[in-house]
Amino acid sequence: MDLGTFLWTTFAVFLTMATFSFLYKDNPFYKFAEHLVVGVSAGYFVVILWFNGLIPNLFQRLADGDWYLLWLNSSKPWYIIPAILGIMMWARFSKKYAWLSRWPMALYIGISTGLAIPLTMSNQVNKQLYATMVKIDWAHFFGHGSFNLLDTTSGFSQLIIFVGTIASLIYFFFSKAHKGVFGAVAKFGIWTLMIGFGASFGFTVMARISLFINRMQDVKDWGKVAFNYSGNNQNYSVWFPIVFWLFILFVIAYIIYEIGYYLRSRTNKA
């Protein structure tokens, strides 16, 4: 790694620190990191869209390699139709011609809906319904081979899925008071939902901690590079640890500033 790459890596560590500083309070460093992410993502997306979408899928098909004549001598001249429809989308910026954008929009929504409705019904409704209507495997009620309640194909799991689904649906049935047996089933339904939400919460905690772990791993790698831990960096120079310590000093100075600010504000309040 050369010094230039190391400086970029240091900048990445700075952005990491800036982002996590929000956990204490909102501050200009966090704002800078936040705006940078949004700006870079948008810019990157535009470039990707241009080079991976418009150029190969429209311009190259229209131009057939001849950029001067464009579609006039193209073997696929019909690609001019989606091009015109795309341009019509931009009419939204004009109050007078905004109606033009409804045509491509209508076409797009019509195609999307036509594609989505049958496939979504089939895959997200019907197949899920079939999955809850399986014949309960009484012969392997507690698992296949050994006792295993976590076996998702055991009769026990199938029964839980069936009863849990019915009970959860009953909880959302508000046309009848949740009393007696109906109320008890609805209560079982809410417990089923809560277990589901609990599992989601657990996974969410894992996801958030994973982000922090990843950043710690990257900061550690940065530290290793700063002191040439592997010993095989041929571009290593004295500037690496200098940059490292300058950055650490900067972080410490900011923490001291924040502590001072906190103490001053407490004194002023008193």
Binding site: S41, L49, S112, L115, N123, A131, G196, A207, I213
Partner: protein, 293 residues
């Protein structure tokens, strides 16, 4: 304010600080935690492990940098497993910032593949990974639903060229590869709603074997598809990646992060218990006060 009030109204910044200290300490001290492999991760591993060399798998890198922490270890483990077994890969990246993620993964795993390694007692000689021979990176195209449907007809419809501008017909690996029928299956590593499109427009329409690698936040939501048989495997978050790394005998960032996960979860459970104890004790105190006891 009594102790139970304090337990309920603890400044969240103390929780963050405590969590950071626990994470850093467990990161610094090296120790291992046991990792239990679940059948839904094992089925993905078995799928790759039983494929014959030369077969093609489509791996969809459908995540942005914000999901890199959880999903990049999955990509590393699966792709290296494929390449060590000489299985060819078609990469797509249907997420906006996905191409960058895919390129980074391809570059880093290609570097790792140059080194001789032994996994699960089997020696694999290092080799050069070649674009067009070992993999094809198709890149990004907008409107992922239509792209997935288009690839079901012919990869050349949405992707006349690969990400680097080479026409698909000029790529040796893509000769005779028309659509999903010529692939062994699809593994979607995703951090967003593109997964729904792979299930609806991909597996649902073209009926190919589909497995998912998901962020922790999404995982619970997609388990019903496993029960219905629409997907054959699921890897959830960093834990799923760690399980795959364990199966592949290729310890990486995910396995390294599991001990931190364990203690971080303990800290969070501790604070949840604290908050609940504070809540119920306060409630009891209030009831007793109302009764005049």
């Amino acid at each position: 304010m009594n102790i139970f009030d304090k337990m309920m109204r603890l400044d969240r910044r103390w929780i963050f600080l405590f969590l950071i200290i626990v994470c850093v300490v467990t990161y610094i001290i090296p120790f291992k935690v046991p990792i239990h492999v679940v059948p839904e991760v094992r089925s993905i591993y078995d799928f790759i492990d039983t494929l014959e060399p030369g077969k093609i798998v489509l791996i969809a890198i459908d995540y942005d940098p914000n999901n890199l922490a959880e999903l990049q270890p999955m990509t590393f483990a699966i792709v290296e497993h494929c390449w060590r077994r000489k299985i060819k890969i078609i990469f797509t990246a249907l997420s906006q910032n996905g191409p960058g993620m895919a390129e980074q993964a391809i570059r880093d795993i290609s570097d790792s593949m140059k080194v001789d390694k032994t996994y699960n007692g089997k020696f694999y000689k290092g080799r050069e990974i070649k674009n067009g021979i070992d993999y094809t990176f198709l890149g990004y195209k907008p409107y992922y639903g239509l792209v997935i449907l288009g690839m079901g007809q012919d990869f050349r419809l949405p992707f006349p060229t690969d990400y680097y501008g080479t026409p698909l017909d000029s790529i040796p690996m893509m000769k005779g590869v028309l659509n999903y029928d010529q692939t062994a299956g699809v593994i979607d590593i995703s951090g967003g709603s593109i997964t729904d499109a792979w299930i609806n427009y991909g597996q649902g329409r073209f009926n190919f074997p589909l497995a998912l690698g998901l962020t922790g936040v999404m995982t619970a939501q997609y388990y019903p598809y496993l029960g219905s048989g629409q997907i054959f495997g699921i890897m959830g978050g960093l834990l799923g990646a760690a399980e795959y790394e364990k199966l592949a005998d290729n310890p990486g960032r995910a396995m390294g992060g599991m001990r931190i996960q364990l203690y971080a979860h303990m800290v969070i459970i501790l604070f949840i218990v604290m908050g609940n104890v504070g809540f119920f004790m306060n409630k009891r105190k209030k009831k007793l006060r109302e009764k005049g006891i």
